[in-house]
Point group: C2
Chain length 198, copies 2
DNA sequence: CCCCTATATTGAACACTGTTCACTGGAGGC
DNA sequence: GCCTCCAGTGAACAGTGTTCAATATAGGGG
């Protein structure tokens, strides 16, 4: 029956995602090669294209995993912090983001290294996970700025996320030390909250 | 004589930089092709490699031009603003950065799209221009935070630059409107300066 | 249990990259 | 005008991702 074929395909699918994830982790996105993948997965090059539309599709699956791990890890940084000041929660979130990016540098970089041609196919999980992240930021933001209207709250939330992303991105790219990047995040976020932490 | 050869090479060099710049402006960095360049420049593919070490070297020259224009344009945003509050100068700088990125989107993107293999060859002008940008930011920062020591001033400067970069990068990538990105920058910078502008 | 057909898998071939280097043509000294 | 020598050439090379005619296999019907 067709189940056997389907099961084999699903096995291959998972195996290829695992292999691609390992390869990106060890050598970076740019090192991913269809022929190497086929050899490591003990299948033909063509088989990859039976299971994914193209290599980008495979990377998208890896990114899905990465992004979900990122979401969970950042979220877990503020569990048991409900009572902490909003400013401290923001800082904890940003440091969790930094930690993840540092400990998963190549996978994290692959999130943004994908070719975004034919923009329509940005997967749903991307926006979903991002929205979840934004929700975590949005809460402290509305506590710090209760006078903001909805639009400004959303813009400040997106802006702060982008800020933290920028600091981490450029910081890691220029090989700044963990302490320096950490300090930059703290300086910015604590001053935005008008609640200086020196 | 050798002067003639040298002059011809120099002409070709400039012509190729112009052509590459035009191509990136119109179709983006990913569309740059050695053969197309040779055809447009009325030379052989090999001639390109007589004048540049490789295509990356050519792109580096284009990026040099772009980065210098960026530096000038951002700097000019705060000439005649010496008397303005530091916060407003920061916002003006960030908006100038946004304007440049918007009006030169593909060239600006090419600044970060270059392959950074063999990291040693990051050109001197890169750090020089960046230092100049940092100097412009550093001045308002030390006015707003006179109590900061030198290390923190530098970290806040780099942090704010990275923040603005992040907001512009993600903003333009997600096709946010100019007004939204502008507002995000204003919200963040005016609150950091504890000098709200609503 | 054994065909037989529809479907899945294969990997050589294709289209396209950047880069090289043995050749060639012409510039410039004698 | 001849003869070096060297700059310019572009066909060839080494790698990519992707395809698709050929092959192998699955699994239902006799």
């Amino acid at each position: 029956m067709a189940t056997k074929t389907k099961a084999r395909r699903e096995d291959l699918r998972l195996k290829l995602i695992d292999l691609a994830e390992a390869q990106i982790t060890e050598q970076g996105l740019a090192s991913l090669r269809a022929r190497d993948l086929a050899k490591a997965g003990e299948c033909s090059v063509g088989a990859i294209y039976n299971v994914f539309t193209d290599l980008n599709g495979l990377v998208l699956q890896v990114n899905g995993r990465t992004f979900q791990r990122l979401g969970k890890q950042v979220a877990s940084a503020i569990t048991d912090m409900e009572t902490a000041p909003a400013c401290e929660r923001l800082i904890a979130l940003s440091h969790a983001y930094l930690d993840f990016a540092q400990n998963n540098y190549r996978l994290w970089n692959a999130l943004f290294g994908i070719k975004m041609t034919s923009d329509s196919n940005i997967p749903a999980w991307y926006q979903t996970t991002l929205d979840l992240l934004f929700a975590h930021i949005s809460k402290p933001v509305s506590e710090i700025f209760p006078e903001f209207n909805a639009a400004d709250t959303q813009l400040m939330t997106r802006g702060l996320f982008s800020s933290v992303h920028g600091v981490v991105l450029l910081g890691l790219q220029q090989r700044a030390s963990s302490a320096e990047i950490s300090r930059m995040l703290t300086l910015i976020l604590s001053n935005i909250s008008q609640n200086k932490v020196f």
